[in-house]
Every structure is written in C-alpha cells, then in structure tokens.
C-alpha cells in the first residue's frame, strides 16, 4: 500500500564543481520547468525545477558550483544549509546527484567525499567522458561504483546520453538507506569528533530532548578555522563549545593532524585510493585543440589584439542592431500615439495614455534591443569558454584598480548600457569584487547619455580644429566626458575597496574550461531569461516613474488660467486665416504663427505644472551650478531615463512635443532656443547658456545615477534596497559637486 511519502515530491540537490556541465544536466533533467529566484538575504541565485519520472515527482535544486563544502561566506553557507535541511524555505533533501568531470576526477572527488559524509542517498554522474577521451583519459565507471559504494552513471549531458540511466539510478537510490561508509580522516581526528559529540548539541532542535549534532557537522565545525560556521551554528548560546573546539584543535595540531590542512590531506589521499584502477591516463600530457587555440588566444600581444577586435565587433553590433530596432519601436509608438489621439477627446486620460503610458513603455522597450544583443554575445562567449581567457588577458589591468579580470567584460558592457553589464557581474564569485563592480558600473558613459552630449556640445562648444582638422574641440570634449566616467569609476572602486567594502580577497584561481561549440539552445534560453527579468523588474519601475513624471508635468491642468492670455492672439490669427483665400501664400505664415502659439501654450502649461513649480522652488539649489529653473526642471524630469531631458527641454523652450529634436532641423531649432534663453528676472537680460553652464550640465549627466532601470537591476542583483540607494546617493552627490566645480571654475577662468 503506498505510503503518503510516496506521493509527495522528492527533493533532489544537484551539486558539483564549476565547469562540469551541471547546468546542462539540470536543463536536461527539468527541461522548461525551471524557475530562477533568490535565496532571501544572499545574492546566490536559486534555481529549482520539476522532473517527473516513472510516476514520481522530483523537485530539483541546482546548487551553485562549489569546490568544497567549507563555507566562508553567507553565499557559500547556502549550499551547506540546504543539504543539511537547515533552510526554512526549502524542504529537506531526499537525495543528492553529484556531478563529476571525467577529466579531473581527483579534485572532483574532494567535494564528493564531503557530500558522501552527509549520509544522504547519493548518485554520482560522471560527465564529459568525451572530453576526457580527447586527453587520452579513460574511466572505468563500474570499478568506481565498486570503490565508492554508491551508484555511478556515465553521462554526456550535452548530448543527453545516459540521462535516463541517471534517472533510474536516482529512483533506486532514494529507496535505499545509505551506510555512512568509512571516514577518510585519521584516528586522532575522529576521536576528537566523538569527544565533541557529547558537548555540542544541535541548536535547531526545538524540544528539550536535544538531538545530538551529526558527526559530519562536528567535523565541519572542527575544520572551520574561519569561524564562519561556528558563528552560524553555535552563535553565542554555547560559548563553552567554542573553547572546546579550540582545545580540540590544539590537541590535533600536537597529534600532527593540523586543522584545516588535515582535511585536504585526508580527502585527497582517499581520492587517490579510490581512483586506484579506475582512471587510466597517458604518461605524457597530450595537447588538445583547446591548447592550440589557447596558444594564440592567451598570447600577450595577439590574444589582446583579437580580444580588442572581438569587443569592437560586439559594440558595433549592439549599436547597429539597437538603432534599427529603436527606429521601429519609435515609429510604432508614435503611430499608436497618433491613433489614440484621433480616437479620444483631449484630456487628462488621453495625455496619460499617450505621453505617460506609451511614452514610458516605449522608453522601456527602446532599451530592450541593445540589452538582448549584448546578453546574446555574453552568453555565447561564456558558453564557448572564451570568457575565462578574456578575464585572464584583462587581469593585469584590473588589478591596478583593485579588481580582477572577471570585472572587465561587465564594465565594458556598461558603455552600451549599464543594465546587461550589471547582470553580467554574476560571473564574479568574489562577493566584494562583484559589489564594487556593480556600484561603479553606472559611472561608465552609457549610450543613453549621448543625445544630451551631442546636443550641448554641438550648441555650445566652439568647433575649433587642431592639427589641421585631425582633432576638434568638440570631439575632445566628448572623449573628455568618457574619460571622466572611467576615471571616476576607477577612483570610486579604489575608495570603496578601502572603506565600505573592506575585507579579505580570496586568491585569484580560475579554471580555463575546454573550448566547446556554444549551444544555441542554452544561449537563447539564457538571453530570454535575462530579458524577461529585465522587463519585469526594470520595466515596471520605469513605467511607474514615467507616469509620475507625466503627472507632475501635467497637473494642475487649469485651462482657463493658462490659455486665457493667449485667447486674443489666437482669435485674431484665426480670423486672419479665415479672411485669406485658400492658395494665398500668406496662409502658411499665419499657420506657422498659430502653431507657435500652440507651443507657447504647451510651455505655459508646463511652467505652472507641479514639476515646473518644483523647478522654480529648487532654483536656488541649482543656481550655483549655473542653471535656471527650466534646466532644473528638465533634469528632474529625466530621472527615469536620461534621454527624456532633450524632449523636455524642447517642450520647456516652447518647441512643442511634436518638434522632432532628433532631426537636423529640430536640433538646430532647439539649439537656437537655448542660445537665446535668458534668466527670468534679469534686467538687462542675461543669457542662461554659456560654455561653463553647458559643461556643468554635461558633467552632471556624466556622473549622476539618473536611470531608474539601472537602480532596479542593482536592487535585484544585490537583493537589497541598501545598495541602489547608496549608488543613487553617492552618484548624485558626485554629480552635484562635479557640476558645481565645473561651473564655478569655468566662470572664474572666463570671467
């Protein structure tokens, strides 16, 4: 008769070293029934999936790739907690599938040894037999099974070979009750463990009758010289226990079993004994295709040149593809907006839908093509194995900044858009490095800043040429702004590493996996996953902020107050138009004047809107930067997304929303308006815009965190509100100071 447990789903954990094809195996087992989330409180991704086999349901958990179960951070603690059933948000694990790489069984067995100690039903999957064969290595799985005492299945996850046998072995293993097997540790160590069993009790047991702490956990505590596990498991409840641990460790050192070195010695010796007769290797190392490729790709000069060329290709594709797609999206949203305008009467709802919703959604979608293309390149490079080589080539450069080579590609991606760059920091295992990279990423000049740069530089920086036309002042200013972003990012990274993010850095040891053809399925799936993640978290935020900004620019929409002063002019112009016969050349002129009047009305609406008034209220704050309230207004309005500032300036300066500021004509019109703008209360009229003002606006945009989407992505990747708030704070402060200094110094130099 089936018991209730047979109908419940079984929880299976998937564990293994990095680069063993674990994710591929996970995908092969669960297919599309995957879910990616976050473990609360840590940045580790939680990947779960569902598998049905022979009438049983399995919940699979894909643990992050690990070399050892010794936890040194909260992130690493997740795997240990999960396997021991200590996590509230996960059911206790019923079985473990440990995936090992056929080409490097020695090291993989280290982790396996730790896993076997846990006493859970375990199945070993030996993956990448084909890669091992290329190196001349052959594995006797049957003998390995004999030596280990647990089922061993040879698989090739990428070709789905052996997966059904794995599922069968798993079904059998769950029914068995595994015997702990002999311990790899020497006698003195095990004696200390027995001694500690009487002293330590499992804190999680709620009842009075305390459960004894399992031996495997006591072993881990003894070996935990970092103190991390001790803090997590014992806390302050049993300070006597800590003393006992220390005494035990001292005794072990005297008995020539020093902690933690004894673990590596014991387990590697065990691995050597276990693999006796299992692995046949050639005497000499056989060079593979990967090695031949690496001779070129890791070459100090040629490797870097190839890398540079590759980056140029990536960026060109991102910009081209992005431009194309943005063109379609813009046309589409414009058409939709116009259609809505014909359908609906003028009013708040129409304005909300056209400017707020369509504008906001269009803004989000316009990010998407760039992001997807960049994700695709990153996914392909990661999958084929080239990313590790890129990290190697750039390591020397990044070390100077206090980071490692793995931060290079994420930071470089930020020149297109910070969002994929920040999401790409997942490859950086060191939490501190990853956080530093995320926090300085928005300083890299992203493509959204370019419209503002182009507008202001063309309008206010004189077009002086040097070196016979080779260099232009305008071009140099652009380069200068890019450099400003880079230099500030470097400085910020150095400062962060010394202050807020101080801590230990683990040694830089990175595997270079064998090259393989990237699987289109994996790459496309990853791109779709990341893209959807972006739409969900950033999209909703941008949309809501866009609507808020729209409301601030629209309300209070008092038609009588605003339009009244213009009515007379409108009436006279309209009667002029009516009196002129059709075909009269003067009609065009009158129509243009009417349109201009409409623009002025739109500008007047903005001025008395909430945002307009806010702009005037904050004017004293932005005056030291050389800005008047209109500029302040436009800058505030561009906080959801930077590109908005150009359009907002257009409206504020009475060019109207229809003015196509992207076109030559529109741009020159706007530039003319900017040149002519004067301070409201100045008599005689004083010009608002001059070179120091333009520069201060440019510097502000270079350094300010004005992208709600980026902040939303930071929130998701760091799993807390603290870091996006910190980023916003420090960047806005930097931007304000930078703009202030630029304006004051500029005025002092020119004045």
């Amino acid at each position: 008769m089936p018991t209730s447990t047979e109908n419940a789903s079984l929880c299976v954990a998937l564990i293994g070293n990095p680069n063993t094809g674990k994710s591929t195996l996970f995908g092969a087992l669960v297919g599309v029934h995957q879910h990616v989330g976050n473990y609360p409180g840590v940045t580790v991704e939680k990947r779960t999936g569902r598998m049905d086999d022979a009438g049983r349901r399995y919940e699979l958990v894909d643990l992050p790739g690990l070399y050892s179960l010794a936890p040194r951070s909260r992130d690493e603690m997740v795997a240990v907690d999960l396997l021991l059933g200590r996590r509230d948000d996960c059911p206790p694990v019923d079985a473990v599938v440990c995936i090992v790489h056929a080409g490097n069984l020695q090291r993989n067995l280290y982790l396996l040894s730790q896993v076997l100690e846990l006493g859970l039903p375990t199945v070993v999957a030996v993956n990448m037999i084909d890669v091992a064969k290329k190196q001349g290595v052959s594995i006797d799985s049957a003998r390995l099974q004999q030596q280990l005492g647990v089922p061993v299945v040879a698989i090739q996850a990428n070709r789905r070979i052996g997966v059904s046998q794995l599922k069968a072995a798993l079904a059998r293993a769950v029914a068995d009750d595994p015997s702990p097997g002999e311990t790899p540790f020497p006698e003195p160590f095990e004696n200390e463990v027995t001694r500690l069993q009487s002293v330590l009790t499992d804190r999680r047991a709620e009842s009075d009758d305390r459960k004894p702490m399992p031996r495997c956990l006591i072993r881990r505590l003894l070996l935990d010289t970092d103190g991390y596990l001790v803090d997590a498991l014992l806390g302050d409840a049993e300070s006597g226990a800590v003393g006992e641990l220390e005494a035990a460790r001292t005794r072990l050192t005297e008995a020539d079993c020093p902690v933690p070195a004894i673990e590596t010695k014991a387990r590697y010796d065990w691995a050597r004994r276990t693999l006796d007769g299992v692995v046949t290797e050639p005497g000499r190392y056989r060079a593979t295709g990967t090695d031949r490729l690496d001779r070129l790709l890791t070459h100090r000069l040629w490797g870097t040149v190839i890398f540079g060329a590759l980056m140029v290709i990536v960026f060109q594709s991102v910009f081209l593809g992005g431009e194309l797609a943005v063109g379609w999206i813009d046309a589409g949203s414009e058409a939709l907006g116009r259609w809505l305008e014909t359908l609906m009467a003028e009013g708040a709802l129409r304005s909300l839908l056209v400017e707020g919703v369509i504008g906001g959604v269009g803004g989000v979608l316009s990010f998407l093509p760039q992001i997807l293309i960049l994700f695709l390149f990153i996914a392909v490079l990661e999958d084929c194995g080239y990313m590790a080589r890129a990290a190697y080539l750039m390591d020397k450069l990044m070390v100077r900044v206090g980071l490692s080579g793995k931060s290079f590609i994420p930071m470089l991606s930020c020149f297109a858009c910070a969002i994929p760059g920040i999401m790409a920091t997942r490859v950086i295992e060191n939490e501190r490095d990853r956080l530093t990279t995320i926090l300085v990423a928005p300083l890299m000049t992203c493509s959204a800043r370019l419209p503002v740069y182009v507008l202001l530089i063309a309008a206010f920086i004189p077009n002086t040429l040097y070196l016979g036309g080779l260099l232009s002042l305008q071009g140099l200013t652009m380069v200068g702004l890019y450099l400003l972003g880079i230099v500030t990012a470097v400085a910020a990274a150095l400062v962060l590493k010394r202050t807020v993010l101080r801590g230990k850095t683990p040694p830089f040891l990175m595997e270079l996996p064998s090259y393989k053809w990237p699987s289109p399925r994996t790459a496309l799936y990853r791109v779709a996953q990341r893209g959807w993640l972006f739409l969900r978290c950033a999209g909703t935020l941008i949309l809501s902020v866009s609507i808020i900004v729209w409301a601030a620019l629209y309300y209070p929409h008092n038609a009588d107050v605003v339009e009244a002063p213009f009515h007379e002019q409108q009436r006279s112009l309209q009667s002029q138009l009516d009196s002129l016969p059709p075909g009269d050349l003067r009609r065009e002129d009158v129509q243009r004047q009417l349109a201009q009047l409409d623009h002025e009305i739109a500008g007047a609406y903005q001025r008395q809107s909430v945002l307009g008034r806010a702009g005037r209220v904050i004017e004293p704050v932005v005056k030291p930067l050389g800005w008047d309230w209109r500029i302040g207004c436009a800058v505030i309005a561009s906080f959801p997304a930077r590109e908005i500032v150009v359009a907002t300036l257009g409206v504020i300066y009475n060019l109207g929303e229809e003015a196509d500021v992207e076109s030559e004509q529109g741009l020159t019109q706007l530039q003319a308006k900017l040149h002519a703008a004067v301070w409201d209360d100045s008599d005689p009229p004083r010009k608002v815009f001059n070179v120091p003002v333009a520069l201060s606006i440019l510097v502000f945009f270079a350094l300010c965190a004005q992208c709600a989407a980026t902040l939303a992505v930071i929130r998701r990747e760091t799993n807390s509100w603290r870091w996006p708030a910190f980023t916003f704070g420090y960047m806005t402060a930097l931007a304000y100071l930078g703009a202030l200094v630029t304006y004051q110094v500029g005025m002092w130099i020119s004045g």
Binding site: Y67, S68, A70, R72, G103, N104, Q106, R107, Y110, A132, Q135, V137, T225, D226, P260, A261, T264, Y268, E281, Y285, T290, D291, D294, T298, R300, A388, A391, Y392, D395, K396, V399, S404, G405, K504, P506, P507, F508, L509, M510, E511, L512, P513
Partner: protein, 82 residues
C-alpha cells in the same frame, strides 16, 4: 649533509617545463583554498604561459593563477622533463 632546495617560484617556471609543487606559503586560509582546489604539495603541474597571472596545466585542466606578495607557490622542476 646539506639538502639543496631546488624550489623556484611558480611564476619563474619556463614554458613547457613540468614541476612538482614543493610548498605554498601565505595566509592559512588562502593556502587552504588552493589546496582544496588541488594545488598542493606533490601536485604535478606544467607551465603553459608564465607571468603573473600565469596559466598552468594541472591534472588535465588549465588554470589561471595570480600570486601576490603574501601568496607564493614554490615548485621543484621535474628533472625528467624535456
């Protein structure tokens, strides 16, 4: 009897030379991490690309390793390698 220690720093190993790891010095937790990874006394390695960071072959894989002031890997070149 004088025992000559023929160990040299890992980064000084010429390309293509194989060697045995003789000793790793540095902070205990760093050393332990390297050992967990398999870089420990007696491990056989072959230099693929010297420098800092260097690329070495170890147990059939290639690994990129960066030494710093505190962390040093000393190796003894394999007399039999050519």
């Amino acid at each position: 009897m004088i025992v000559i220690d023929k160990s040299i720093p890992l980064n000084d190993l010429p390309t293509g030379t194989s060697a045995f790891v003789s000793r790793i010095t540095g902070r205990p937790d760093h050393v332990h991490r390297l050992e967990e990874f398999g870089l420990r006394g007696g491990t056989r390695i072959e230099m693929f690309r010297p420098g800092n960071p260097c690329i070495i072959r170890m147990a059939g894989n290639k690994v990129c390793f960066r030494a710093d002031d505190l962390l040093r890997v000393l190796v003894e070149p394999d007399a039999a390698s050519d």
